[in-house]
């Protein structure tokens, strides 16, 4: 198990390298540079700035400089936030996205599984139809519209929850709901259809024939197998939710790192874009490993390659 974990971790390194390369190259194809200003800078000043950030070197040299920095744990200085390092910016903002994302993840997975199970158990009933319609509705609203609706209703009109900012647990509720709505709806549908699928499989019928109670069948076999599908979906979702969302952070004024995927690009803050992207890619790799481990745990038929 541990061996498997480290082996997969090692396999992730070339992926990270390629992610950095691709992002770096794409960024350099982007027209406009970090120091293009509304008030154009005189050439001598531009030269000084380029020297300071080593932008006067050739692109391959810059890339090598960046990579060797990353290996030493230095993600370089931000071009936009003068005097701050990308590492500082990410260590400030990532924990906040992490908190909000975990909450959203919990809401999405528990809520989604609960709704999906309920619907599957009451398959064909009015409740089933109602829940499924609700989940389709959840998938049909753009996140900024949903966020606005939540802010206006629960934040402003009813005043039950804070409309925005980040001061305590209650401040996480509306943004987490906005973030969780789509995956929750999706997980609900996923759970429902997997449960229905598994219900008809032979071994469930056999188990039932062996005289296990209806409840035991449901929990032991159906749920475990249905979870496999959910876990597959959750893998990449973890990375998406934990690194924050531009829309949610923008609307709710939350100082997370999701906004950097957008603002750092518009500012041409290359090191910050690269730093945020690497964090995202690390999370994807980790999440995929965890998914594989969970797979083996949930389904004894699957074995981890490399594990003995």
């Amino acid at each position: 198990m541990i061996l498997f974990f480290f082996k997969r971790l090692l396999q992730g390194i070339p992926v990270l390298f390629m992610v950095a390369t691709m992002t770096f190259v794409l960024l350099r194809f982007l027209p406009g540079g970090p120091f293009d200003r509304e008030k154009t800078l005189p050439p001598e000043i531009l030269r000084n700035i380029e020297a300071r950030y080593h932008l006067d070197e050739s692109v391959p040299e810059q890339f090598i400089r960046y990579l060797s920095g990353v290996l030493r744990g230095d993600f370089g200085p931000s071009y936009k936030y003068t005097g701050r390092d990308v590492s500082d910016i990410l260590t400030d903002s990532f924990p906040i996205s992490l908190q909000l994302g975990s909450l959203a993840l919990m809401i999405a997975s528990f809520g989604g599984v609960a709704i999906g199970l309920t619907a599957a158990v009451r398959h064909g009933s009015v409740l089933d139809r109602g829940l499924m319609l609700l989940s389709v509705a959840g998938m049909s609203v753009p996140s900024f519209v949903l966020g606005a609706l939540l802010v206006l209703s629960f934040g402003l009109s009813l005043g039950w929850l804070p409309a925005a900012l980040w001061e305590g647990p209650s401040y996480a509720v509306l943004p987490a709901l906005t973030l969780a709505a789509l995956p929750m709806a999706y997980i609900a549908q996923l759970t429902r259809s997997s449960v229905l699928e598994v219900m008809h499989l032979d071994y469930v019928r056999t188990a039932r024939a062996k005289g296990l109670s209806e409840r035991a069948v449901r929990w032991r076999h159906v749920l475990r197998n249905a979870l496999l599908a959910v876990v597959t979906y959750l893998g990449p979702l973890v990375a998406v939710l934990l690194t924050g969302s531009f829309v949610v952070e923008q609307i709710f004024a939350i100082p997370g790192m999701g906004r950097f995927f957008v603002t750092a690009v518009t500012n041409r803050d290359y090191p910050l874009v690269l730093g945020a992207t690497l964090v995202y890619a690390c999370l994807i790799i980790l999440a995929n490993i965890v998914v594989d481990i969970l797979y083996a745990f949930l389904d004894p038929r699957i074995r981890l390659d490399g594990a003995r």
């Binding site: 154009t40 001598e44 000084n48 700035i49 950030y53 910016i89 903002s93 934040g155 004024a253 906004r259």
Partner: protein, 515 residues
């Protein structure tokens, strides 16, 4: 499960939105975004200015009418030839850690601004000083060759390359504030963090949660009266609509109104508006057909009805045909082209242009709602008044800036905000040597008039020079069409007193009271 749910609801109820509004002595403003830096030597943007103006003072300070007044300098003298300024510093100024102000702190800060290694974007502000540009370009390496000298602890002597009548105005700008070598040496880049940063203005930095909130408190060492406010909390709410909602809930005391929300608040007692020293114009690429013909440029200018802009934008914009904006010294409202569609069509015909056969003209602006509204409006106006089709294109900001520098489109929108309240800041833009002149237009007479005006200390003669230059720019040659000056539109809570708006969007909070 049930208990968990109950506990959850209890937690939610216990920390509702109550208690977040500011009490007496505390002001809550919206900065909009994180200030990119509080290092006043390196800062360039409005948000940083807003914070730094509360923390620091320079030789001079702008009053509410934007007139430079003595601040750290008690008085100053100018030599007869206008090249040497001698500033006498106040003797009672101390930094927030008790260290007294010393003329060396100016010398240090100004040399740091100009040093190539600092790579300060606004180093060019001090280029009028003797040797400054060469020092910044690395041609001189000895700072003693610069025209910046401390004569004792309280006298600063500045030698300029050439006379410059508005030099004292420059010393109101943050990049000219004094600096502390000891702090920068001790803390490196982190010298602007709370606990490290020492300042000498009305407030000091108390907390800074990056990307979220910044707290200032009154400076007990301030050399003037302690400000009435104990605390200023600056949130960084990027979405204007969200900020508005927080204002409605009493969480924020001052917010900027999103453009389209302004109309609902026009008669509201908390609504405040003030036109700015911020020009908004469309520029021509005068190197390319059809705008290489001055008659076509003038036709386009005469086909614009500026009174439509305030109706479209509804943000208190003031139409202006003059480039030196209203509110700036030497502004002249009579200068510029006026709406005259018949004349416009005549000019077009004279230039031999048939709107039917002219291929669509490309106009480029940067993606923002306000610019889009203006672009769509002028597109309709030129179609209506000239019969010419305009093809609009929006660009992401940095792409747009790069394009302006590399290959300017036939028509483009741009704005200019004053850095200091002197007309030179506007007129210099369209000289042939200005990097901000993207029109490709160059005129020696214009250059000369602008240069003479910068050295002319007599206001009457200066007016004549600027009027002449503006006539060339706006009536004869027309490389640009000024549209209007922008306004700021704020909501200010009733508990906030003594808050005055000014034309440069600087918040002066040292006399503001929060009840």
């Amino acid at each position: 499960m049930r208990e968990v749910r109950v506990a959850f609801v209890l937690i939610l109820l216990s920390c509702g939105p109550k208690g977040l509004s500011g009490g007496p002595g505390e002001l809550r403003i919206n900065l909009g975004t994180e200030p990119p830096t509080l290092d006043w030597t390196l800062a360039t943007d409005n948000v940083s200015v807003t914070v730094i103006e509360q923390l620091m003072r320079g030789l001079m300070v702008l009053d509410a009418d934007l007139q430079p007044q003595p601040a750290l300098a008690e008085r100053w003298e100018v030599s007869k030839d206008g090249r040497i300024y001698t500033f006498h510093l106040r003797q009672d100024v101390r930094w927030s850690d008790g260290v007294p102000l010393h003329a060396d702190q100016f010398v240090f800060s100004w040399c740091r601004l100009l040093a190539p290694a600092t790579a300060a974007e606004y180093a060019y502000f001090l280029f009028p000083i003797l040797g400054a540009q060469a020092f910044n370009a690395g041609e001189i390496t000895d700072p003693n060759q610069l025209g910046i000298r401390a004569l004792g602890a309280h006298v600063l002597r500045i030698e300029l390359e050439a006379p410059l009548v508005y030099f004292p105005s420059l010393t109101t700008f943050m990049v000219t504030f004094p600096g502390r070598a000891d702090l920068i040496e001790r803390y490196g880049d982190a010298w602007t963090e709370p606990g490290h940063l020492q300042t000498l203005g009305p407030f000091v930095l108390d907390e800074w949660e990056h990307e979220y909130r910044l707290v200032l408190r009154a400076n007990d060492h301030y050399y003037l009266d302690r400000p009435p406010l104990d605390r200023i909390v600056g949130y960084m709410v990027a979405e204007a609509t969200t900020a508005l909602i927080l204002f409605e809930q009493g969480v924020l005391d001052i917010v900027r109104l999103p453009p389209l929300e302004i109309r609902r608040y026009l008669d509201h007692p908390m609504y405040r508006s003030k036109p700015q020293l911020r020009g908004y114009y469309y520029g021509f690429n005068t190197k390319e057909s059809p705008f290489d013909d001055v008659r076509v440029r003038r036709a386009f200018a005469h086909a614009i009805d500026r009174s439509e802009f305030p109706q479209v934008l509804k943000g208190g914009e003031v139409p202006s045909s003059s480039w030196i904006p209203p509110g700036m010294p030497h502004h002249n409202a009579a200068i510029g082209t006026h709406f005259d569609p018949d004349k416009a069509r005549a000019l077009l015909a004279e230039a031999g242009i048939d709107p039917e056969t002219l291929p669509p003209v490309r106009a480029v602006y940067n993606s923002e709602q306000r610019h889009k509204l203006v672009a769509e409006n002028v597109q309709a106006q030129w179609r209506r008044n000239l019969g010419i089709e305009i093809e609009l294109e929006n660009r992401e900001w940095k792409v747009f800036l790069r394009e302006l520098n590399v290959s300017p489109p036939a028509l483009y929108r741009l704005g200019w905000g004053a850095d200091f309240p002197d007309p030179d800041n506007f007129m210099n833009l369209f000289t042939s040597h200005s990097a901000n002149n993207h029109t490709g237009w160059a005129n020696a007479r214009f250059d000369q008039l602008v240069q003479d005006a910068a050295r002319e200390s007599d206001p009457v003669r200066r007016q004549v020079l600027y009027d002449g230059a503006q006539r060339i720019l706006l009536e004869e040659e027309v490389p640009i069409i000024p549209f209007f000056v922008r306004a700021i539109n704020l909501l200010v809570a009733e508990r906030v007193k003594n808050f005055e708006l000014n034309a440069m969007d600087i918040f002066f909070l040292d006399r503001v009271v929060a009840e």
